[in-house]
């Protein structure tokens, strides 16, 4: 399993792996927002937590179809299915690799982009925390969606249609935590709720995703 994780990380970081693309996408989305809503600091500060969360979510979505599609093309997904490790474990490792190459960099980049959007000072810590807790759920849900659509020729658009509604609860709690932090309110409740969602998805979705992959490889 460790070998699989290292292999995925290596594939993602080398040339053509798409590492950095989602970060660049996140940056561009954040830069576009002030052009859309105007440069006033007050407005930007108000919508910054939501924009940062939606931007991170979309950036995460962008890299989802790479999780299984390349492996399926070169046949390594079939090898994974016949490997001695259970499919559930392989799926969980894939999600972890996706988080390490997408979710974690996005989380670390968010405060920097927060400065661009005039994010209120007390909101930085809850934003960072909420992204840290929430992005694993995004990766896990996304892995499930990618597993559902792995057999399709052009599954990218369908993938976003399937995955985005599943992202709603995470987004709500995440953006709410950051917003409450910005207004100086207690952030424990949304953070705890989101931690619950993350742990729940990690506990349940590997099984659903593995089932979907088995169906698709049949």
């Amino acid at each position: 399993m460790l070998a699989l994780l290292l292999r995925d990380l290596r594939l993602a970081t080398r040339a053509g792996g798409g590492f950095g693309l989602s970060l660049a996408f996140f940056l561009i989305v954040t830069v576009l927002v002030p052009f859309g809503v105007g440069p006033e600091g007050g407005t930007l500060a108000k919508i910054a937590p939501g924009i940062l969360w939606v931007g991170a979510l979309l950036a995460c979505l962008l890299s989802l179809d790479r999780i299984f599609a390349l492996d399926r093309e070169d046949g390594s997904l079939d090898l994974l299915a016949t490997a001695p490790i259970p499919m559930e474990g392989a799926v969980a490792v894939k999600a972890l690799a996706h988080w390490l190459t997408t979710g974690l960099p996005l989380t670390l980049a968010a405060p920097v982009l927060g400065v661009l959007l005039n994010l209120p000072l007390p909101a930085f810590q809850p934003l960072l925390l909420s992204l840290l807790i929430g992005t694993p759920a995004l990766s896990m849900i996304g892995t499930f969606g990618a597993a559902l659509t792995v057999g399709l020729k052009r599954g990218g658009l369908l993938l976003s249609l399937l995955v985005l509604p599943l992202y709603i609860p995470t987004l709500i709690y995440g953006a709410e935590a950051a917003r409450r932090g910005g207004e100086g309110l207690a952030t424990a409740t949304p953070l705890l709720m989101m931690a619950g969602i993350t742990l729940g998805t990690i506990a349940i979705l590997p099984f659903a995703a593995a089932a979907a992959i088995r169906v698709n490889l049949r």
Binding site: L148, G155, I168, P169, A212
Partner: protein, 242 residues
């Protein structure tokens, strides 16, 4: 005699062809009587005027939108556990009906909301939850349409339906946390005091029964169509082989 006998498509076709006219008749009768009673023979509400009467479409369609997803959940489980094709086809047949019910509930709500709340749409928890439910239906139907092999499609959509149910519930309570409501509480209940006066409640029960029967009619009809379409495909395939 068990319910699993109806997993045999032949048995299902026989029984449903016998039952369909009766169910259709009952649906039409209860819908017509419920709606006519509700529209023409109940008094106007003292504050809402005649707009209150949209309740006879709004509440039953909202109820069926949720129950349809519940039915799809059960039939998906049956398909995953016992591999009965009729069950998977019933789930496939029900999805567009459920989506239409969701749309009807959203639209009638908007039509009522404009004069009453002064807005077509508000990000109220109930409204938002229904919009999310609509998105789930959309994804489910799109996945059915995207996969070529019928068994693969049935498997994948069943898994999606199970996961989607969990997330639909999560979203339902997450939006409660996220925004305060504008929508009133439940209109009818079995154990608490009614929120709707009896004059309005009786035709409402009737039209709810009518919508339930209408749903049953449409599901039976569409499931029969799906079974026939699959038979046709099998026959065509046999023809090509010969």
């Amino acid at each position: 005699m068990s319910i699993w006998e109806y997993a045999n498509p032949k048995k299902f076709m026989e029984t449903s062809s016998w039952a369909l006219p009766w169910v259709t008749g009952l649906a039409v009768a209860s819908l017509l009587s419920g709606l006519i009673w509700g529209f023409f023979f109940t008094p106007d509400d003292y504050r809402q005027g005649s707009t209150v009467k949209i309740i006879y479409i709004h509440v039953p369609s909202a109820m069926m939108a949720i129950n349809c997803w519940a039915m799809m959940l059960v039939t998906s489980l049956v398909w995953l556990i016992r591999r009965h094709h009729v069950s998977a086809l019933a789930a496939k047949a029900a999805a567009p009906i459920g989506m239409t019910m969701t749309l009807i509930a959203l639209f009638t709500g908007a039509i009522w909301g404009q004069p009453m709340w002064g807005t077509w749409w508000a990000w109220d928890p109930r409204l938002t939850a229904f919009l999310i439910l609509f998105l789930f239906y959309l994804g489910y139907i799109a996945l059915w349409g995207a996969v070529d092999d019928p068994d693969t499609a049935a498997d994948l959509t069943s898994v999606l339906c199970l996961v989607g149910s969990v997330f639909a519930l999560l979203s339902r309570y997450a939006v409660l946390f996220w925004n305060q409501g504008l929508h009133q509480g439940a209109s009818l209940s079995l154990d608490k005091e009614e929120h709707v006066a009896d004059v309005f409640a009786w035709p409402l029960w009737l039209s709810m029964a009518g919508f339930g029967l209408l749903f049953l009619t449409l599901v039976l009809f569409r499931t029969r169509t799906e079974i026939r379409a699959r038979r046709l495909r099998a026959l065509e395939a046999r023809e090509r082989m010969a």
